[in-house]
Symmetry: C2
Subunit: 137 residues, 2 copies
């Protein structure tokens, strides 16, 4: 299941992308428009800022803005920040590889083979999708 965190994060990014890049967008505006608990959304946007996808401006008339063009923001990056590894098991993760405790030889593991296929097909989608595709911008 997709976490609420990811869902909210994607909706917020879409909202920001659609707002144009001239002024920062405030958390309160996004929260109200997208029906997201404001404090929760705050923490999500903070994560996106720390990862470099969003920038922020503090104080009055502050808010969040995209650090790149929507067409440059790939879903692979966004999903890894919000949802974590794209692979369903650590032993097939490109960025967070970990060996299974119970698996003596992962090349013989039936789960491993299947999960590599799932990972590759999901990656293909995320690599070919940018925020521009989501937001229609």
């Amino acid at each position: 299941m997709l976490s609420k965190k990811t869902k909210y994060g994607l909706k917020a990014l879409t909202f920001i992308a659609r707002s144009g890049d001239d002024v920062p967008v405030q958390v309160s505006v996004i929260a109200k428009s997208e029906q997201i608990p404001q404090k929760f959304l705050e923490s999500i946007l903070l994560t996106l800022r720390k990862s470099g996808i969003l920038g922020s401006k503090k104080g009055k008339h502050g808010g969040y803005y995209l650090r790149s063009e929507p067409s440059e923001i790939k879903m692979t990056d966004v999903m890894r920040v919000l949802e974590g590894p794209i692979a369903m098991v650590p032993c097939v993760s490109l960025n967070y590889y970990e060996k299974c405790d119970d698996c003596p030889d992962e090349h013989k593991c039936s789960v491993h083979k299947l999960m590599i296929e799932v990972r590759d097909s999901t990656l293909k989608v995320f690599r070919n999708t940018t925020l521009a595709d989501l937001s229609g911008v």
Copy 2:
């Protein structure tokens, strides 16, 4: 993340498929060979039996067996039983559809569009993979 339940279930099915179809395979044998807690595995195989994928024989010399040929057992079915819906959000689920509370129009929802693509690409993998592919039988 793939749950342990699903991982163990897939390994157990593979084990049974590789054992041939002449005699039922006991939980204890699978548990020992695949390093799975036996009581946990019991409950998993019970689920697979109730869903119709496995059959069982009680009493001495009892155990579990496949109800169909490995090549007839599709990953779509297995994954739905073990892991639940294949879609990452209920609003794009084919078998367990549910509308989002927060989404006024899901055709305009950016998350919706992305998750449909992910669902379709994952489905494609599961539809084209059978237990025969996993087990090499």
